[in-house]
Structure formats: structure tokens, C-alpha cells
Amino acid sequence: MQKFLLQGLFRGALTERAPSPDDAMLAEIGATLEKTAREKLGRSLAIREVDAGSCNGCELEIHALSNAFYDVERFGLRFVASPRHADVLMVTGPVTKNMREALERAYNATPDPKWVVAVGDCALDGGVFAGSYACVGPVSKVVPVDLHIRGCPPDPVALLKGLIALLNAAS
């Protein structure tokens, strides 16, 4: 173990530069964020991730945000265990009917001010599962969505762009 720790000391940082958000994302967020909310939050956001029916591909990339290359915490973005500690609900999947109530409850348990980020094509419009008897479809059909991050799954850079845009708008 010592070897690992020593190497870590002498090696340069792996963390990469932050990507800059897309204009479209900034516009989407700008439309929903109120100034009062921005003042309350400061430069930090606590995120509760909710898998509402994903294939788990989106989760893999959300996990990747925490690896040393992206290191999402350096931006003040933190994944938390409870919706009660969260400012942001990050939702994936075509919202299955069996998960609908759980998603609603998580949303209601999140204190105001709060934002919903819908991650992945499934969360946007149901993706390849659109039209299934078992899926509600877009996340926006269940809870109001402030930002969509597209992709199947969106890669960590796309996720970071979206989250940084949200953070900038919120602070």
C-alpha cells in the first residue's frame, strides 16, 4: 500500500480541465431558475440520483464522474444518499410504471428550492422503451424537469457540462 500512496504523491494530477457548458443547456436552465433560489444555494449542489427504470448504462457514466479524471466534487457537486439532503434530483430511465410512485415520493421529499436533471435519452422521451405498457415515458411526465442531458448514455463530459451549467446558473 505504501508504494501506491507514495506514487500518488509524486505523480501529477490526473484531473482534467472542466468542459464549458453548451448554450442550449444554459438557455434551458435560465428559463427555470429563479434568482432567489440562486442566492440560497451558493456554489455547491447536493445531488440525489434516482434510477427510475434505466438499463443501468446511465448509472455507469454517472459513477465515472467520481473517478480521478473528472473528480466531480472539485466543483462543489456531491452525490448524497437522501433526497432530503439534496438540491438536485438526477433522474434516469423511461420511468417505469413500477417506479413512478417512488420517483414522486423522492421528489416530494426533496426540499425547495430544487431542480430535476433528466439524464439520458430514455429520460428525455422514453428512448427505445417509448410506448411500452410498462413505462410512463419522459421524466417530465412525472416531475417538472429543469435540464435534460442527452445521450445513450451521455458520457461524463456531457454530464459535467450540464451540471456545471446548472451550478453557474444557481450561484
Binding site: 500500500m1 508504494k3 501506491f4 500512496l5 490526473l14 440520483e49 434516482v50 434510477d51 427510475a52 427504470g53 434505466s54 438499463c55 443501468n56 448504462g57 446511465c58 448509472e59 455507469l60 457514466e61 454517472i62 459513477h63 465515472a64 467520481s66 473517478n67 480521478a68 479524471f69 452525490f79 444518499a81 437522501s82 430511465g93 423511461p94 417505469t96 410504471k97 413500477n98 417506479m99 413512478r100 410512485e101 417512488a102 423522492a106 428512448g127 427505445v128 422503451f129 411500452s132 405498457y133 410498462a134 413505462c135 445513450c152 448514455p153 458520457d155
Partner: protein, 507 residues
Amino acid sequence: MLFTRKEKPEATAPGAPECRPWARQDVDAGGWRDAAGEIADGKADLLSLWSDGVRVYLAFLPQGAAAPRIVSLACTEGRFPSVGALHPPALRLERTIADLYGIEGDGLPDKRRWLDHGRWGVRHPANAPLPIETASDAYEFCRAEGAPLHQIAVGPIHAGIIEPGHFRFSANGEVVVRLEERLGFVHKGIDRLMAGAPIAQAAKVAARISGDSTAAYSFAFARAVEAALGVEAPARAQWLRALIAELERLANHFGDIGAICNDAAFSLMLAQCGLIRERLLRAAANCFGHRLMMDRIAPGGVAADLSPEGAQALRDLLEWINLMVPRLIGLFGDTTSLQDRTVGTGVLSQELARQYACGGYVGRASGRAFDARLNVGYAPYDQLSFEMGGSTEGDVDARVWVRFDEVRASIQIVEQILDRLPHGPIHVDVPSAPSAPCEGAALVESFRGDVFVWLRIGADGAIERAHFRDPSWLQWPLLEYAIKGNIVADFPLCNKSFNCSYSGHDL
């Protein structure tokens, strides 16, 4: 002892599509019972049990055989002799048949709905759906009673970034007396989505059954379609498929080894393994255009070729991983605080692993030597040499060591593929419409274990029916056993060492 089955079966009588490469046999109730009895007696391993609304199907692998068998039974009155009554591993599959098709196993001891939570607005949606008032069905959990026992309910939303499911613990103080799982939260209606879908669309859905196994599912789906239609992907495509599948396996094993150790509060391993995983995904994106390599394997071949620069980048990456692996093994094996949490934790007995025909690292860590790449065999694995890891300890520790074994095997395989990748085309056209309905099946080793696929293609070229059985179907029930007698706080660690798929199971 390795073989591939490429021989084309002779044409069959119209109206009775033969399944390829493994023949399907229509049997009567007696024949069905015999097959179920063979499985229950341990003379054959259950691969899957499913329905298409008209028949029920049973796929199994007789002991020592390299070719699975499939038997089917016409369900005239919507009933069939229960397999689950004789053989518990079939229980959940049978409950699912009742949920989706309204076809019930006679004598099935557990009649509770499984994937159907009463929220779809229909009953048996895949077979003459019956509208119902949307509500939520009450679910009766098995009881564990006694003065010191208390229940802990967890989920469907868990504390981490993981998939949703519900766990009901009965505990005596800190010790788990019983765990009961309730799944189905991410049911997306795959069977129904498949019915009538054009092959290209169905391939997209198949790739999204379980995102962490997207390459394995695409591989299995492609092989089943090709078997049904009697086409063969070009040699280069077959080798590239294996390359893609092994990169997926490596990325998942590294990610999970790190995550397991992290659940034992050893985050250094997560950080180190996270680096390797990320570099693998970036290499995958550079070589094949997608980090998870989704939709890269398709019926007829592969969607992206490997450039010489891509091959060189993979070689460089492997060289670095080869340096890292012994260090990680040292770190895992020499850290006593970590061993303290993993050794003897969450033991799965060899007997249960055998009974459930449990695949992947979970089965191999409990003495079951099965790997679809070796035991059933498919191209190009019949031309590659590698060793399957194994252990008989059956604890969290053993499951991690087996994963290290598998990492080493995958590295060997990738090296062989890069050295010997044949030249030539990477794709052939699949016929848009076969001359008659046809059926195909495939068994492909995902990182988690064997994925079974069966499908029927109609005369119009669309998928008529398809069935996918994730390895998790046979691993989830075993987690209920493995956690018994452990403390509640060790559940995340045990759970992560199994890492069953929710999405792949819930379909």
C-alpha cells in the same frame, strides 16, 4: 472438447420451425415432466423457462453435454405442469410467465405476482392484455416471527447510485435471519417490445436490457438471429466481437473490484480501479466510437472496424494494465483490514450454486466450473486459449479472486485477438425476409455469467417473439441464502460481490 456448431440443420417441415443450432422438441405433458424431473434430479442444468403465449419452453444443458436442449409444450388451457414445484430455481421464471402471459404452472407453490406490481393498467400484457384499474397490488412477504426479530425494509430507492429494488430483512439484533427480495421495479416490457419489431430495432432494445452487458447482449442476440437465418458473420467480425466482449468484461471487473473494496471502506482500490476502467472506456470510445460499445455488435457482423492505430493503442493500454494488476492483487491480498471484511462473508454453498446452475464469478467462486465460452463454445473462443478461474470458498473474498482470474484471462484473450485478428469484411447482409418462420438460440458469456437468448423470426423478417434470460435470474435468489447469518452492515458488501443486474432481471 471445444466446438462451434455451424452445421446447418436440414430443412424442416413447414409450420414447425426448427430451432438452430439446438433443436427444439415439441413434447406432451409427460415429456415435459420428464425434462423437469431430469433437471430437478441434477442430471441437467436449467438454462431458462419461458413462454410465447402459445407454448412454454424449457432450455437445459444435460450434464457433460456441450449442446443445450430445448423442449416445448403447447398450453391448450393456459396451464402446464409446474417446473418450479420440483425445482426451486424455476420459481421466479414461472411467476413471470403467469404475470406476462397469464399461463400458469400447475402446482406452482408460490403464486404471488413477481414483475407485475399491479401498476401497468393491464394483466398479462404480452398475451391478450386484460385492462385493469391502475392500483398497486399488496404483496405478502414471507413471515419470520419470534420475539427478538425485527424487520428492516430497504428500497426501492437505495442510498447509492444503484438500480432500484426492495429488500426485506428479518434480523435478530444485527444478524440477518432472512432476506426476501422484491424485484420488478425496472420492468420495461421487453417481451412485448420485441414482438413484431424489425430486427434492427429489436437489436437496439436487446443492447439496452442491461447496460453493463450491452456488448454481451448484442453478441447473443446477433448469434441467435444468425443461427435462425442460417447466416454466418465474417471471421474478422467474429474476432472483433470477442474483442469487444472482453473489453466490456475487463471494464466491469475493474469497476466492480474497486466498488466491492469501497463497500468495505477501502477507497484506495476504488480510485485505482476507477482509473483502469476509465482508460478502458476511453480506448473503447476511440476504437469503436462508444464508451460502452453499445450497438457495435449487430446481426451480420460488427458496426465498427478496428484501425491499426486503435490496435496499437489497445496494446499500449494492456501493457500498462499488466503492470497494474499484480500491484492491485498485492494491495487486495495484503491489506488485512480488507481481508477481515471479505473472508468468510456472504458464503454461498457449492451445493446451491450447482442446483441453481449459477453462472459467472458467483458460480465459479462456489466450485461450479461453467463458462459458456468453454463449455458450450462459440466462435472465436474455440480458437483461443485461456483459463477459467475458480474457487470453492464461496465468500466475498473468493468472488473477488475469481474476478482477478477473469481479468487475467481476458487480458490473454485480447492479446491473442490483437495478434491474430483476421483480415476481411466485417459485415454480411442478413436476409430481410426468411422463406419461412425460423427460430434461433444462443448462449453467450457476459461478465456476469451466461446470457441465454431465444427468438423466432416471422416470414416478414420481423422478430415474432424473443426471450432473454440474464444470469441474474439464477443469482438473485442465491444472494438471499448467502446473506443469512451475516450482519446487516455486511449486506452492501455481499450484494456488490454478487452485483446482480436489476434491469436484466426485470426486463
